[in-house]
Each structure stands twice: as structure tokens, then as C-alpha cells.
Amino acid sequence: MTIFLLCFLLFMIGLYGVILQRNLIKIILSLAIMEYSVYMFLIVIGYVRGGNVPIISKFYEHGPFVDPLPQALVLTAIVIGLATKALLLSVAIRLYKYYGTFDIRTIHDLKG
């Protein structure tokens, strides 16, 4: 139970960062923290009590295995997160070249 509360706490910390931080890079890092909390939550869902690594080998043929499906979901989600972060960082670098600062209060051209 405590591990789910910790995942939720990490999600809230990331959300606080995305909403309230003013530096572009800190917003990106907070988004990354949110992503990691969701990945952790997905993996912990698949835990089976007494389960072992879900690989069939000569030493461990049967018996309770931990659920491997959420692990596959998390691998895919990590790859997607990588693409998102790479794109966000490139946009942030280009914005720095135009405006000379990372502060979102100065990068505020589109209004209304």
C-alpha cells in the first residue's frame, strides 16, 4: 500500500513542477518525474506474491512468475517518453536562441 502512495506522491511532485515552475528546463524535468512515477506504478501492479523473474530457464521452469505484461507496456512507454523529451529539449534550445532566456514570463508572445 505504501508503494502506491509513494508513486502518487511522486506524480503530485511532478505535477507541481509542471504547473508552477518558470524555467523551461525545470518544466521538462518535472514532466520526466511524472512519467517515471507512472512507469513505477505500472510495474508494481504486476507483482505476484512470491513470484520470480518471468524467464523460463533450466533452473526455474514453473512456479509463480511476476506478470510480464506491464513490463512490456513500460518498455514501450519509455521509448515514447524518450522521443517526447528529445523533441521538447530541441524546442527549448531553439527558444533560447530566439529569446536569450528560459523564463516563460518573457516567452509570452501569443496572447488572447
Binding site: F11, L15, V18, L24, I27, L31, M34, E35, V38, F41, L42, I45, L69, P70, L73, T76, A77, I80, A83, T84, L87, L88, V91, A92, R94, L95, Y98, Y99, I107, H108, D109, L110, G112
Partner: protein, 508 residues
């Protein structure tokens, strides 16, 4: 027949990567590959609709069911899917024709066409996905391609717009992933049809997951509390991309998923239906009031997109409310028909309006309504098609917008939600005045002297705009009883038999 369904994902992906590989040898191969593939896919969609099969289920990898539990990845295509595939292909084809001459100003044209194909592949994948995690992966593919396309001509406004769009889109994708995690935890399966049979009877859990899903997909569909990324992203993007984003992306990954999950996966309940209708009504009202005060043409069109998506969600919401409170089936079917028909119509006329705005910006270099004027004598095709699209969006007969809005209002009256009908009519009048203002300031009036030398847009752009204007008139035939049986009725039937979808797909 069912083995042609994966072609919708294979062909755009192949076109995207072939464009990059062969760009060294042939210079502008990407354009021709994209347009020929889209022509083929449009023809294939028409073929599927005219054949009108029941739900086509395709198991990727061919893994058969183990003890009646589906283990393969399912691709499911039924009536609702086919009309969406058709509208994505048509609007994609028109935008690709338009981009022929529009992208000559960019230095890396082949990357534009590669990203465009990737966005199309993602949208097709979302629409035919039969299991919820595959839907998420294709949603991310098309979202990431659209983030890069919004920033394609790298200037200040586009970069700021895409940053805002990306951060908000990223948060909504995380909320969707969290909801998928909860669904897997409670049901043990990821197949949309199978989730219906395994959902726990506990109402609290169903409401929790519904709220998460509505929040995540509501942001993708630009419903009102989650709409703040749309004006920046859709107004700063290059014009064919704005037409694609506002025309099909918010429908394929936003409205379609909400409709599919809340009618066919989760059993219909009164609270969720009321929430959806309230969100739709707020979108209608707030969108149009924010649109009428705008002086930037594309920003005005973007805000009115929010308002028209509100119409679609209100139509669907009334149908859901009638089904949830045990009302008459014919009223629910009428409301859902209105909502779906308006979704199709909005793709065509909003796409056309964005292409017109792009054509104006291509020739005059500005989008500010205060500095334009009198363009109707210099750009006849643009102003004619813009007049057609403005009349269509304001609900003037005989264009397609009139029929879909009338159906929604009738359904609201028959379901005895008189306030909703009244609000729809008032919002329609304000939409009419918004577009009269846009037409007047852009096309009628005095021509500023510096625009004396401009002439009409290049051939590709004019051709696509004319074809879409013709479609505006042709699509109003979809409400005639004979034609309606082919296009709209299968989609409405799929939604009316709410959770029987699962037994049809699983073949039980």
C-alpha cells in the same frame, strides 16, 4: 476482406520511411508517393463502406484465442470506423494536394511529407485499434508527429505554441496511461471487447477510471477546461497542418475515442452522460464567445473549432443521456446521428476555412483582419470557397452544416432538453456573426494599395480548395434516407447496441 485492414497502417508507414530513404536519389518523391497512397486508401474506404460488412475483426499475428480468452492484438473495423477512415483519407488527400505548392518555401521538404505520413498512420491506427494499449501507442505516434509539424517553419510563435502543446499533450498522455494501468489492474486484460465483460461491478471504480479517461482524452479533443493549447497550436502551424489538426486530429484521437470507450466499453450511466453533455455545452458557449472578439484570422477559426466540437459532444451526450435514463431509442439514434454527421461536416468545412486562411497568408503575408480587405477581386477562388465554407459553418441551407445542426436541435427538443436546443440556436447565431465579420474584413471592403500586385494561389492549392467546397454541398446528401443507410446508419447502430459490441467482436 479482413486482411486489407492492416493496409491502413502499413501503407502510410512505408511511405514515410521510403520518402526519407529515396530522397537522395529522386528529389520530390515524397509528394507523389503520399498522394497516390492517399488516393488508394480513399478508394479502399469507399469500397469497404459500400460493401457494408458487419464488424471486421483481424487478429495480428494470427494467435487464436486460448480457452476463449483473446490473446492476439485485435484490429476491429465496424460502421463507425469506416466513416472515420473515409473522412481522414479525404481531408488528408486535400491537405496533401494543398501542400504541393505550399512546402516549396521549406528547405527540407521530404521530412515534412515523412512526418505527415506518420501522423496519418497514427490516426488510422487509433481508429482501427481493438485494444487499448495499441490505441495509446498510435495516439502517441500521431501526437509526436504533430508536435514537430506545428513547429515546421521554425519561428518564434510556432516554437512557443508547440512547447505549450507538447507539455499539455504529454500530461494528458500520462493520465491516459494511468487509466490504462488501473484498467489492467482490475480486469487483467487490455482488449476493449474483453474489458466490458471483466469490468468490476463496483461503481466507484468505473467512475474513477471514466474521469481519468475523460480528462486525458478530453484534452486531446479540446473540450473546455482543457482547451488552452488549441488556439496557439492551430493558429501558428503551417496551414495544411492546421487543416489536418483541426479537421481530423482532434476528432480521430479525441472525439472518436471518447465515443468508442464511453458507449462500447463502459456501460452507459447517467452521471457520466451528464458530465459529457455539460462539458460539450460549455465548449459551445465559451468557444464562440472567445471567437467573435479575435482579429487574427486563424485564431478565430481555432476558437470556433472548440465551439463546433462542443456541438458534436452535445449531440453524443444527448444520445447517451437518453439511453441512460431509459428514453426512446429513436430519439437517441437521432441525437447520435446529428453528432456524428456534424463531426464529418466540421472536418470538411473547417479544413476548407483553414486552407483559405493559409492561401491568404501565402499571398499577402499577414493574418491580421484589420490589415486585409477587398481580396475578393484579386483572389476569386479563395473568396468563393471561403464564402461557401462560412455559409456551411453558420448553418445556412443547402450546405451540410445546416442539416447536422438541425438534427441536433430536433433531437434536443424531442428529448425534452429545451435549454440545450435554445443554447444551440443562440450559439449558431453568434457563429453566423463571427463568420460574417471574418468574410467582411478579409474579402469585402477596400483593397490596401500594397496588395495590388497579388494574384490567385497556385494550382494545387486552388484545386484542393475547390474540391472541398464541392464536398460541402455533396455531403448534405448524406441525410437523405437512401444514402443515410449506407454511411451513417451502420455507425449509429454500432453505438446504439452499447455493450453488445463486445460479444460481437469476441464472437461469442
Amino acid at each position: 476482406m479482413s486482411s486489407m485492414i492492416p493496409l491502413y497502417v502499413i501503407i502510410p508507414l512505408a511511405v514515410a520511411f521510403l520518402t526519407v530513404i529515396l530522397s537522395r536519389l529522386f528529389n520530390s518523391l515524397g509528394k507523389y508517393l503520399l498522394i497516390s497512397s492517399l488516393l488508394y486508401l480513399t478508394g479502399l474506404s469507399f469500397y469497404f463502406i459500400l460493401q457494408s460488412p458487419q464488424a471486421v475483426v483481424y487478429r495480428v499475428g494470427g494467435f487464436a484465442d486460448v480457452l476463449n480468452v483473446p490473446v492476439a492484438i485485435f484490429l476491429v473495423a465496424d460502421g463507425l470506423t469506416f466513416i472515420l477512415l473515409l473522412i481522414i483519407s479525404i481531408v488528408g488527400l486535400m491537405a496533401a494536394l494543398y501542400s504541393f505548392s505550399y512546402t516549396k518555401q521549406y528547405t527540407s521538404e521530404e521530412k515534412y511529407y515523412a512526418l505527415f505520413s506518420l501522423m496519418l498512420a497514427g490516426m488510422y491506427g487509433v481508429v482501427i485499434a481493438g485494444d487499448i494499449f495499441n490505441l495509446f501507442v498510435f495516439l502517441e505516434i500521431s501526437s509526436i508527429a504533430s508536435y514537430s509539424l506545428v513547429a515546421f517553419s521554425i519561428d518564434k510563435q510556432q516554437l512557443e505554441a508547440t512547447f505549450k502543446y507538447q507539455v499539455l499533450g504529454g500530461v494528458s498522455s500520462l493520465i491516459i496511461l494511468l487509466a490504462i494501468g488501473f484498467i489492467y489492474w482490475a480486469t487483467g486484460t487490455l482488449n476493449i471487447a474483453d474489458i466490458t465483460t471483466q469490468l468490476p461491478k463496483d461503481k466507484t471504480f468505473v467512475y474513477f477510471v471514466s474521469v481519468l479517461l475523460l480528462g486525458g482524452f478530453g484534452l486531446k479533443a479540446a473540450l473546455v477546461p482543457f482547451h488552452s493549447w488549441l488556439p496557439d497550436a492551430h493558429s501558428s502551424a503551417p496551414s495544411p497542418i492546421s487543416a489536418m489538426l483541426s479537421g481530423v486530429l482532434i476528432k480521430a484521437i479525441g472525439a472518436y475515442v471518447i465515443i468508442r470507450l464511453f458507449f462500447n466499453m463502459i456501460p452507459v450511466s447517467y452521471e457520466i452522460a451528464m458530465t459529457i453533455t455539460v462539458l460539450g455545452t460549455l465548449s459551445m458557449i465559451i468557444g464562440v464567445f472567445l471567437a467573435i472578439g479575435q482579429w487574427d484570422l486563424k485564431r478565430l477559426l481555432a476558437y470556433s473549432s472548440i465551439s463546433q466540437m462542443g456541438y458534436v459532444i452535445v449531440g453524443i451526450g444527448i444520445g447517451m443521456l437518453v439511453l441512460a435514463t431509459g428514453g426512446k431509442d429513436k430519439v437517441a439514434a437521432l441525437a447520435i446521428t446529428g453528432g456524428l454527421f456534424h463531426m464529418l461536416n466540421h472536418s470538411i468545412f473547417k479544413g476548407l476555412l483553414f486552407l483559405n486562411a493559409g492561401s491568404i497568408e501565402y499571398r499577402t503575408g499577414t493574418r491580421d483582419l484589420k490589415r486585409l480587405g477587398g481580396l475578393s477581386e484579386k483572389m476569386p477562388v479563395t473568396s468563393g470557397t471561403s464564402l461557401v465554407a462560412s455559409m456551411a459553418i453558420s448553418g445556412i441551407p443547402p450546405f451540410n452544416g445546416f442539416f447536422s445542426k438541425v438534427v441536433i436541435v430536433f433531437a434536443a427538443i424531442q428529448a425534452q432538453y429545451y435549454w440545450l436546443a435554445f443554447i444551440s440556436i443562440v450559439v449558431n447565431i453568434i457563429t453566423l456573426s463571427t463568420f460574417t465579420k471574418a468574410q467582411k474584413y478579409a474579402f469585402n471592403g477596400e483593397l490596401p494599395s500594397k496588395y495590388n500586385k497579388i494574384n490567385e494561389s497556385p494550382f494545387g492549392m486552388s484545386l484542393s480548395m475547390t474540391l472541398m467546397a464541392v464536398l460541402c454541398i455533396v455531403m448534405s446528401f448524406l441525410i437523405i434516407p437512401g444514402v443515410r443507410e449506407i454511411f451513417l446508419k451502420p455507425a449509429v447502430d454500432v453505438l446504439m447496441e452499447t455493450t453488445k459490441y463486445s460479444s460481437k467482436v469476441l464472437g461469442l
